[in-house]
């Protein structure tokens, strides 16, 4: 468990203490709450390591999810290697990079195939979308994992754009293309590609300040990037929940009101 305590956690602790709850129970509650929590595990392939200025992005992602929503999240996500059996222990992995990647090994392909077969979701985030080399190579290698599917653009019609926030277009560290891309299998987006550098927008220094400037929108754009990250996490946890018939009429009305 992380030593960092979010504001929401702090508020919850205060509330529990006010209710007479012991500290031991509080610790127990928090630990129990991490069972099944969202865990943005960085996916490592080849000889890659998880370091650099964006290494804080997964923890920030979890922190924002906890503070903004009811969803629990692991505050210290640990990387998972693509050829490790641990890949199958959770349904989500976060694949980011800033340049060309090596071809997947047979073991990595086999592990990823089983990961997707069990319903896993992979978020592919290009840290340098200006060159697009990472996205290009990731698509090439994932095509070897899932040869029967190809990425397609997804816009506001997809549930990921309304799984928590209404989002009109994706933003990250850069403005990027107006749509995400996804490999849809069985009606679910199992691989989501972003050419917006979400990790760059999320990255924070040890002092809590943003590590990478966001262009051209500044902090407003960073907030939009955080919202997209929250929506992706909610999509992973709830799948197409917001497409249910019981929600659809309400959300359609809301969209109609919001539209100019």
């Amino acid at each position: 468990m992380s030593a960092r305590v979010s504001r929401k956690t702090f508020i919850k602790q205060l509330a529990m203490l006010a209710g007479g709850m012991s500290l031991s129970r509080l610790r127990a509650a928090m630990a129990f709450a991490e069972e099944g929590a969202f865990n943005p595990r960085p996916l490592l392939t080849g000889r890659s390591t998880f370091s650099g200025v964006r290494a804080s992005a997964p923890a920030r992602w979890s922190h924002e999810l906890i503070s903004r929503t009811s969803a629990p999240a692991r505050l210290s996500p640990s990387p998972v290697r693509a050829d490790d059996d641990a890949l199958w222990s959770e349904p989500f992995a976060y694949f980011m990079g800033d340049g060309p990647i090596m071809a997947f090994t047979d073991a990595e392909i086999a592990h990823l195939r089983r990961f997707f077969a069990e319903g896993g979701v992979l978020f592919v985030d290009d840290a340098v979308p200006e060159t697009g080399e990472f996205t290009r190579d990731a698509k090439r290698e994932l095509a070897r994992v899932l040869p029967d599917a190809a990425p397609i653009p997804i816009g506001t019609e997809h549930v990921v754009f309304r799984s928590f926030y209404f989002i009109r277009r994706p933003y990250g560290r850069v403005e990027g293309p107006p749509k995400l891309e996804a490999i849809i299998r069985g009606g679910n987006a199992q691989v989501i590609f972003s050419s917006h550098d979400i990790a760059g927008a999320l990255a924070q220094s040890a002092t809590g300040l943003s590590s990478v400037p966001v262009v051209p929108g500044g902090e407003i754009q960073r907030e939009r990037a955080v919202r997209l990250a929250v929506n992706i996490a909610m999509y992973v946890l709830c799948s197409n929940y917001k497409d249910d018939q019981v929600h659809a009429p309400f959300l359609m009305r809301r969209r109609a009101v919001d539209s100019p």
């Binding site: 099944g36 969202f38 009811s70 222990s89 349904p91 319903g119 928590f164 799948s239 197409n240």
Partner: protein, 737 residues
């Protein structure tokens, strides 16, 4: 010994007739000749007559027949109505008493007729003599009066065919129907051309208002309106104008639930009412249709009908409510959504009051949690409710917990899935809902509501025999993935059964703490799953070995058990016959393979939940058949529960009526009986005239027969030749040629 004569058997009838014709022609010619030749003399005539006779006898050669035999009376079959309708009032006393008297009358008047008394009701007629002292023990009253089947059976038997058939009935028959009964009987006799006499057991209708028929338009499907057409009748001089009709569902352990009501406006003693009912629970359900009969009603038992509907389900409607989205919630939702037979409505709490969304409401794709609407207005429309890690306190669910408990007691399904905000941690301890859970909740929300240690759940012995975990064990055997944290719960409630336990934590009584327990409450079922890690059946090294199918196998079985899917029931229960009040009832029980132990049977009244029969049968092994005598029951709705050893129970609901369809219409039907008699050439008689029954004559049957020629053929020939010679001499003497 009786002597008679016959002619030689080597001549056929045509030749014999030809010989006689020739003899007569000869005599005619002789008379004609003598008339023309007057004075020819009597001698010629006599010798001619004798010669012709002897010549004819020489051709025919008569023989003596010596025979010995007896007179056999006609075989007459009496078909006595043994349906329950003969217990209705007749003209004098009950129709059964009239039947006994009529059979006695027929027996007295039978003479040499050989009477065989059979009872007709269902299928082939059975030997049944209503006048015998053991008549009631020989055959229980039949639930039908199928004369057609009895006649067909008689017509197709290889035994001696009856000379006539006598039917004794009140005419209220299932077959032949009111429409052209005579023609139907002729067809059912299949060429057996015998008269069918009928003896009517009643001619007057008793004063009675009744539900004559209840017809459903199509099969009953859960949650879908089912139109009922109810025929009401009133006869026998009873004053009926408007009668209130109601349809209620009998609920296990609770008062009947009113489904629909209406008013029947009777004209000429008949009325038809259309009621639409909706049954929300699948499986065998008992619906009571009743009228409020006026004073003077002679047969109150037919004012109320108990109709058993086997309610099908097109899709299982599940309400899935989760307190926060987790991987466990995700896995369950994805399974629910992937199953085409499940119609799931999901509500996840995505934002709490303490969350800082950093956005205006317009930027949020969230809708308010409609707790009041869901748990009051829409609750009955769901087959099952899944509460997953959901805290009842912050979302105003506490006030709906009594209704949710009643929902379970009235047949709904409930699954409570663990998590920090579940069970005692979700403020459920001490509430009405806690009473319907299969485990006790000892802890309050702030005291030891959960434990954090990692562990691997342990299977119980019951689980190894329970069909509900068989699919999961088919994948993983006894292996389960490691779980993190468990809700602290108390002992399993009586009647519940525990499938998984915590390997270390004990309850206050020292028993291993239940982690997965299944139980019944009233009409419904509930499941307590005190962990939130079943997603690890898919996402773990163990789960990867089964490609995630183990998770689906577990939840498919849990939801199936909740919905009483026969695949997951520990035994099958059948009624050996339709349950009729006052008639011994037997159940046939077949435990599923794998279970072994003492067979326990419990039969309880649905309305009052009082156990009327409790039995322990022999030790049974799975797959072995057992027949359990339940005894005689009073009219009403019942539920039979069966379990083997300490294993899970299964149940079957059924209804018992006093008269059933046979008492629905108490009017005798003499017109139908008369038509049957007329069509077959029989007689229609009232019961008082049974002694005047026209019976066919007796038949003589030979036991010994000997044929001897009167004289040998050569003697006849010699005599004929001599007579012809004398005749020739006489003719010559009188000058004839």
């Amino acid at each position: 010994m009786v002597r008679s004569f016959t002619l030689s058997s080597d001549l056929g009838h045509p030749l014999a007739y030809a010989a006689l014709v020739l003899a007569l022609a000869s005599l005619v010619l002789l008379v004609f000749e003598l008339q023309r030749r007057r004075g020819a003399g009597i001698l010629v005539a006599l010798t001619g007559l004798v010669a012709t006779a002897l010549l004819t006898l020489a051709v025919l050669r008569p023989a003596s027949v010596f025979s010995r035999g007896s007179v056999v009376g006609p075989r007459v079959v009496l078909l006595a109505d043994r349906s329950r309708s003969i217990d209705l009032p007749g003209d004098q006393g009950s129709r059964r008493e009239t039947l006994v008297h009529a059979v006695e009358q027929v027996k007295k008047a039978a003479g040499k007729a050989r009477l065989r008394v059979l009872g007709f009701g269902e299928g082939a007629p059975l030997p049944w003599d209503p006048t015998a002292p053991s008549a009631s023990a020989d055959a229980a009253p039949a639930g039908h009066s199928d004369l057609g089947a009895a006649l067909m059976s008689l017509a197709s038997r290889a035994e001696e065919r009856p000379a006539s058939i006598v039917v004794l009935s009140d005419g209220r028959l299932d077959r032949p129907s009111e429409s052209m009964p005579g023609q139907a009987v002729i067809e059912e006799l299949r060429g057996l051309r015998v008269p069918v006499h009928v003896v009517s057991l009643a001619s007057k209708s008793p004063p009675d208002a009744s539900i004559r028929a209840v017809r459903a338009a199509g099969a009953a499907v859960a949650h879908q309106p089912l139109p009922l057409t109810i025929q009401i009748g009133c006869d026998g001089g009873l004053a009926c104008e408007d009668l209130t009709v109601s349809a209620r569902e009998l609920i296990d352990g609770g008062p009947p639930a009113l489904l629909a009501s209406g008013v029947a406006h009777l004209e000429h003693g008949d009325a038809t009412v259309e009621l639409s009912i909706t049954l929300d629970r699948a499986g065998p359900r008992i619906v009571e249709v009743a009228i409020q009969a006026p004073d003077g009603d002679a047969i109150p038992d037919n004012d109320r009908r108990l109709i058993a509907f086997d309610v099908a389900r097109d899709r299982v409607r599940v309400l899935h409510v989760a307190g926060r989205p987790t991987y466990d919630v995700r896995a369950l939702r994805m399974w629910l959504k992937s199953d085409a037979s499940v119609d799931v409505v999901t509500f996840f709490i995505l934002r709490t009051h303490t969350d800082d969304v950093k956005a205006s409401e317009e930027d949020l794709a969230l809708i308010p949690f409609p707790v009041d609407e869901l748990f009051s207005e829409h609750l009955p429309s769901f087959d099952a409710v899944v509460l997953q890690d959901f805290n009842a306190a912050p979302y105003n669910l506490l006030r709906h917990l009594p209704a949710l408990a009643r929902y379970v007691e009235h047949g709904g399904g409930l699954i409570m899935v663990g998590g920090p905000d579940s069970f005692a941690g979700g403020h459920y301890a001490g509430t009405r809902l806690a009473d319907v859970l299969p485990v006790a909740l000892d802890q309050g929300p702030t005291e030891g509501a959960f434990d954090l240690a990692s562990f691997v759940p342990a299977y119980t012995d019951v689980a190894r025999a329970a069909p509900v975990l068989r699919p999961l064990r088919g994948f993983n055997g006894d292996a389960l993935p490691e779980m993190v944290g468990a809700n602290r719960v108390g002992d399993a409630r009586p009647g519940s059964f525990v499938l998984w336990t915590h390997p270390k934590i004990k309850t206050s009584t020292g028993a291993p703490m239940p982690l997965l327990a299944l139980g019944e409450k009233g009409d419904g079922r509930s499941i307590a799953l005190a962990i939130d890690g079943t997603y690890r059946l898919s996402y773990s090294s163990l789960g990867s070995e089964t490609a995630g199918r183990a998770h689906a196998a577990l939840w498919d079985a849990l939801l199936g058990w909740l919905m009483r899917d026969p695949r997951y029931e520990p035994a099958q229960i059948e009624l050996l016959s339709q349950c009729m009040a006052g008639v011994p009832l037997s159940l046939r029980v077949r435990p599923l393979p794998g279970s072994e132990g003492v067979l326990n049977v419990e039969v309880a009244r649905l309305e009052r939940r009082d156990v009327v029969v409790r039995k322990q049968d022999r030790v049974l092994k799975g797959g072995e058949l057992a027949t359990v005598d339940v005894g005689k029951l009073e009219p009403g709705g019942y539920t039979a529960r069966v379990w083997v050893g300490t294993g899970p129970s299964t149940r079957r609901d059924f209804a018992c009526e006093r008269g059933g369809d046979e008492w629905a219409d108490s009017r005798p039907d003499e017109a139908r009986l008369r038509a049957i008699a007329n069509a077959t050439g029989g007689e229609f008689l009232r019961a008082s005239e049974a002694g005047q029954l026209p019976l066919p004559p007796a038949t003589e049957v030979a036991a010994e027969r000997r044929v001897e020629p009167v004289m040998p053929p050569w003697a006849w020939t010699l005599l004929a030749a001599a007579a012809l010679g004398v005749h020739w001499i006489a003719r010559r003497k009188t000058g004839l040629a």
